[in-house]
Amino acid sequence: MKNVTNMIVAEGLTKNYGELVAVDHIDLKVAGGEIFGFLGPNGAGKTTTVRMLTGIIRPTQGRIHIAGFDLLRDPIKAKEVMGVVPELSNAYTELSAWKNLQLMAELYGVPAKTAKARAEELLVRFGLHDRKDHKTKTFSKGMKQRLVIAMSLMSDPEILFLDEPTSGLDVMSARMIKDVLQELNNRGKTIFLTTHYMEEANQLCNRVAIINHGKIAAISPPEELKARIGGLGRLEVSFKSHVDSSDLRSISGVTDVRESGDKTYLYTDEPGTTIQHLVDYCRAGSIKIVTLNTLTPTLEDVFIKLTGNGRGMEEVAEVVTNGS
């Protein structure tokens, strides 16, 4: 591995499938030790990007450096430093978990002794040790997915690419995988993560990129995105008895009111002072408040703003010029 600050660098990365531009001139830099989230709606070009970054398919245009190695010129060296969990990947179902892990070790040139110790460790970590000699076709979906991740870790890679690693898994399996990613990151590994779970990205990632129609709409730390693009904060109130929303609109600081179920949402620029006005208003009218929460914009709000209803692209221009 070369001594570089950016473990993943992509410049002008483009992939055309005939007429379709699946990925359109994207630039990315992922620093060493970073967990980088890659978000986007279905068909946005996430998998295509990951496949190009991992050397599975060749870009139509653009350059890629992995840990300082030019992926297109020196694919073997570049691939040796990364572990990959493809979107729809599989272990060999006719082989046992153990044999699958050993095959990975051999393909990545890991010495046999190291490979044995590491396989034992990973099987225990992923809760598969008691099934290690069973053919993987007998495994459940979650077990298979854990095995595929274990396989990607057999070479103790510096960079790990995961394309939707937790999709379709139960809470426990998903949490186990998230914990492993966090541990790896604490040990200094760089992680490139594609996911549809906003909360997962929000918790794990140092920075996220949102891709839409093959173009990057924003790259920032999640909190910055929420502050800049997420829009207004809101108060979530539940009243004991029904309150007319037109009255609430007149409260100072409230810009919009929406009702949903037993909850009323008050949109505001300054949640703090609005709460005070709301409380005053209720006291004056003897209205009982059951619950009151302050909601800040979530990553999901940001995501929907940037990718929803084809409105994304105008805002993109704005975000990009805002400097990301």
Binding site: E80, N90, Y92, L95, E106
Partner: protein, 251 residues
């Protein structure tokens, strides 16, 4: 450069071991490997008054041909469908390494199954006049036909049946061109010309030499070996080029 090539070779062996475990160590594959050439052979030979050593030589040539081309064509389409190919494509191995791995497994299989006709010959009292040449011939032919199988598998499909049909359509006519059933000496001039474009001709001719002794062969031994090497190189280069094109289309 040298350690890198060594590394890739070791990885090719890892792929070969995987292939053997998954695709070759299966009852039906092994039984089919032994039976199909035997049946085809019997079908054409029964009732014709031919010497046993002639029969065994032809059977051996066909056995290597059928076993070595039996599994290599289906590995790529199968792994396309099972989605293992993407894992392999992400690993630090070149396409050549993957193909060499597939070829090595097939060579081993072809060599092992080719012992069956040899032992059959021994049972019928057919001795091997030139064991060393025979060993070289078997190894070389197994490589050559395994590479041929890889050319078949380069169609970017996940349907094994498509590949099997295509390869069968090419394999069977080749058998009839190749002097297996009729000695090349006895073929008309156009038949001899056609036989010369089939790699199976050369291995069968070598087997004739090894079992029936000098004079039974039509081409000289060096000529036969040279021809097999040329076919091997052509098939291997074609397989690598074609798979480089088709791999991205499979994903």
């Amino acid at each position: 450069m040298v350690p890198e090539i060594q590394g890739q070779m070791r990885r090719a062996f890892a792929i070969a071991r995987k292939d053997i475990r998954i695709y070759y160590l299966k009852g039906p594959v092994i039984i089919f490997g032994v039976l199909s050439p035997s049946f085809l052979f019997l079908a054409f030979m029964i009732g014709r008054n031919l010497p046993v050593d002639f029969l065994i030589a032809g059977l051996l040539g066909m056995t290597i041909f059928f076993t070595s081309t039996s599994v290599t064509p289906v590995i790529a389409p199968t792994e396309t469908q099972t989605r293992n190919l993407e894992r392999l494509a992400a690993a630090p191995v070149s396409i050549t390494t993957i193909l060499i791995g597939d070829m090595l497994a097939s060579v081993l299989f072809g060599m092992l199954i080719s012992l069956v006709p040899i032992l059959l010959g021994v049972m019928f009292g057919v001795g091997v006049a030139h064991p060393l040449v025979l060993a070289v011939a078997i190894v070389l032919a197994a490589f050559c036909f395994s590479a041929m199988g890889l050319v078949f598998s380069s169609t970017p499909t996940s349907m094994t049946s498509t590949v099997m049909m295509m390869s069968t359509m090419i394999k069977f006519p080749l058998v009839f061109l190749s002097g297996v059933f009729i000695p090349i000496h006895d073929l008309p001039a156009w038949g001899q010309a056609l036989a010369s474009i089939s790699p199976l001709t050369y291995i069968t001719d070598l087997c004739r030499y090894c079992f029936q002794g000098a004079g039974a062969n039509y081409y000289s031994v060096p000529m036969n070996i040279f021809a097999l090497v040329v076919f091997l190189v052509i098939f291997m280069v074609a397989a690598v080029k074609l798979h480089e094109r088709s791999l991205p289309m499979r994903l």
